[in-house]
């Protein structure tokens, strides 16, 4: 059982600040995943929690106890490294027993704990082998076993699957998920840049950018209600399409937007939120884009297929939009053939359209912030805020565009 609280955590190397005041509350037993692009500070924060990096300022609190200056081994934390970091000259058994021996645990207890971990991770047959005689997946399990035997309160994983091949990665990911189920009280923090790992493993995902938290939320919250353009484009593969537009007028509860490509968009959002002349970004996910069959009428965008990627089950179309130099990606079932230079018309359901203001904030998020700033500011970072969000997104819809034939 370990609640973990980060309060205004800052980390600097000389004059260069890499973490700019991180606030985060992690509840006991939660599986938290840190994601973000390279250099965003997610691994630095993990290492700071572990004690491998000193915290420049702020508080790291585990179960009410400030841990900033406590030795790594005394924090009740175990860490699984990206490179496994197994001691190559020690057998699997010795690798797992090393920390316990240093801690002065009795031989009998060490043996019991190592054997138990070996059984859980199906390593019993390999306890007397050296790491070099094991496969990548087995080594990863030994690294996890070394962490388990110490009975930690908090488990840290630093991109543990990135050295495995695709098939093994899926298998080990499932093993980690099962491991978490078998240890419901242990808090786990997992760093990855792999969205699939994040979405499938996490209770909550924390998205980082440039040393700041962009959003905290459940995987579906992040996918369906991204707080800003960065999260919208970071979560989901391929990334969300972003179209630029301007509010051009209002009538009868409807706000009219003119897209840069020339199409027109109507949004029935709160008029107070969208003043005339405001520039907006309109986000539509490739998988939420629907191709309109020839002959059907309705609100559409138009473009020419430039390239088709076949992934078996689905295909990804790279479309040159009419009236824009931008590529628009469409993910659709691979049952209909498209070829280069095909002209297609496409649209999206109003529920699947995301709106962002000029600062990149979600309009839904901005409604909440503008009307309940004090209430939202902190809880947003805990990921439990945008509950009422999405009104603007849900009420937006594409109307017949200027380029609609």
């Amino acid at each position: 059982m370990a609640d973990l609280t980060l309060r205004n955590i800052r980390k600097s190397y000389a004059d260069f600040e890499v973490l700019h005041g991180i606030d985060l509350d992690i509840k006991s037993g939660e599986f938290i995943v840190f994601v973000g692009p390279s250099g965003c500070g997610k691994s630095t924060l993990l290492r700071s929690i572990a004690g491998l990096e000193t915290i420049t300022s702020g508080d790291l609190v585990i179960d009410g106890e400030r841990m900033n200056t406590v030795a790594p081994s005394k924090r009740g934390i175990s860490m699984v490294f990206q490179s496994y970091a197994l001691y190559p000259h020690m057998t699997v058994y010795e690798n797992m027993a090393f920390g316990l021996r240093i801690a002065g645990v009795s031989k009998a207890e060490i043996d019991e704990r190592v054997q138990k971990a070996g059984e859980i991770l199906q390593l019993s047959k390999y306890l007397q082998r050296l790491p070099k005689a094991l496969s990548g997946g087995q080594r990863q399990r030994v690294a996890i076993g070394r962490a388990i035997v110490r009975n930690p309160r908090v488990f840290l994983f630093d991109e543990p699957l990135s050295n495995l091949d695709a098939a093994l990665r899926v298998a080990t990911r499932i093993e980690i998920a099962k491991l978490k189920q078998s240890m419901p009280d242990v808090t786990m923090i997992y760093v990855t840049h792999d969205q699939v790992e994040a979405m499938t493993l996490a209770d909550r995902i924390v998205v980082f950018k440039d040393g700041n938290i962009e959003q905290v939320g459940t995987p579906l919250e992040l996918y369906k209600r991204p707080a800003n353009l960065f999260v919208a484009q970071f979560i989901g593969s391929p990334a969300m399409n972003i179209l630029e537009g301007t509010v051009v007028g209002k009538s009868q509860g409807v706000t009219h937007l003119m897209l840069e490509c020339g199409a027109e968009l109507n949004v029935s959002a709160d008029r107070g939120v969208l003043p005339v002349g405001e520039r907006l970004s309109i986000g539509i996910r490739p998988e939420n884009t629907q191709i309109i069959p020839a002959g059907e009428h309705g609100p559409v965008l138009t473009g020419t297929v430039d390239f088709v990627e076949h992934l078996g089950e689905v295909q990804i179309l790279y479309v040159d939009m009419v009236g824009s130099a931008q590529k628009y990606l469409i993910k659709t079932a691979d049952d209909e053939a498209y070829a280069r230079m095909d002209t297609i018309r496409f649209t999206a359901r109003t529920n699947d359209i995301h709106l962002f203001d000029a600062k990149g904030r979600s309009i839904a998020g901005r409604i909440l912030e503008d009307h309940a700033l004090t209430h939202v500011s902190r809880s947003r970072f805990r990921g439990d805020a945008p509950g009422g969000g999405g009104t603007a997104q849900r009420s937006a819809g594409l109307r017949t565009g200027a380029l609609d034939p």
Binding site: S73, M79, F81, S83, A85, Y87, H89, F98, G99
Partner: protein, 286 residues
């Protein structure tokens, strides 16, 4: 016509390649003969009598009698070898341990101004032993270490630390830091990380360093001559000169003594050639 021209070209290229290979092999064989023949000749002359050596220096001995070798062994070589073994092994252990600790500090600590300390330690490579002889003699006399094993062990250690540290440091820089961090998470102290994680992982370079040090200490002459005086404390190189002075006319015994003194080091070299070469290559590029 162009086909036959092409085949003639190919034949010529093949011929040049074969010729080059033959020349290279011949050169290497000659080089080997130049290095090995004197040793072989020395060992062979150890089996001859003085008359045979002077009569026909390049002929094979009349019989393979080990009398000269036994004589050389009993006339001091035994003691010289014992002293050399003590001094060489003692200084090898000290050098490697001190250098490994130093390299660990220079690669793992967050010491401010670390490049400066690296410079100081590695700058020792530039120091010539000859210029330090006089102050060292006074120091050893004052410390009461003159004419003891310790004089040589300490001096060999001190003068070999820069080079050995240089090699071990280069190796340690290549060891993954994750292992240190894993040990820190396991609760290991700096000492435990050094002894239980880093040092065992450095085994290949440590072996190389020991071999390079053995080659140096076994053959070192200057310090051994200056800092020891009694016959019971002389190492092989100095002892050999004593034997030569003593048995100046009995070349057969001198050759036997020289062969006996070279034998251990030659055997060590051939047994551990792999580590020796790796040791030399290890300092490159890091």
């Amino acid at each position: 016509m162009s086909v036959s021209h092409q085949s003639r070209e190919t034949e010529r290229t093949d011929f040049v390649a074969v010729l080059a290979k033959v020349c290279l092999v011949a050169f290497l064989i000659s080089l080997g003969v130049v290095v090995l023949y004197p040793l072989f000749w020395m060992a062979l002359n150890g089996f001859k009598t003085n008359a045979e050596i002077f009569g026909n220096p390049f002929a094979l001995p009349g019989g393979f009698s080990v009398a000269n070798y036994i004589a050389a062994w009993n006339q001091g070589i035994r003691n010289y070898i014992a002293t050399s073994v003590i001094v060489t092994l003692g200084s090898a252990v000290c050098t490697v341990l001190v250098s490994a600790w130093t390299a660990y500090g220079l690669t793992r600590s967050k010491l401010p101004g670390k490049p400066f300390f690296v410079g100081i330690v590695l700058g020792g490579l530039m120091l010539s032993p000859t210029v330090a002889v006089i102050p060292l003699v006074r120091m050893m006399q004052d410390l009461g270490l003159y004419n003891t094993y310790w004089a040589l062990i300490i001096l060999y250690t001190a003068f070999r630390i820069p080079f050995t540290t240089f090699l071990i440091r280069a190796y340690m820089l290549g060891l993954p830091r994750d292992l240190d961090e894993a040990a820190i998470m396991d609760g290991a102290s700096e000492g435990q990380i050094f002894w239980k994680v880093t040092l065992p992982l450095c085994k290949p370079i440590l072996v190389s360093c020991v071999i390079l040090h053995v080659l140096f200490a076994w053959n070192e002459y200057l310090f051994a001559m200056i800092f020891t005086s009694g016959a019971d404390l002389q190492t092989l190189p100095v002892g050999l000169t004593s034997i030569m002075a003593k048995h100046g006319t009995n070349y057969a015994v001198v050759f036997a003594a020289m062969t006996l003194s070279a034998l251990p080091i030659v055997m060590t070299f051939f047994a551990a050639q792999r580590f020796f070469i790796r040791g030399l290559a290890e300092g490159i590029g890091k």
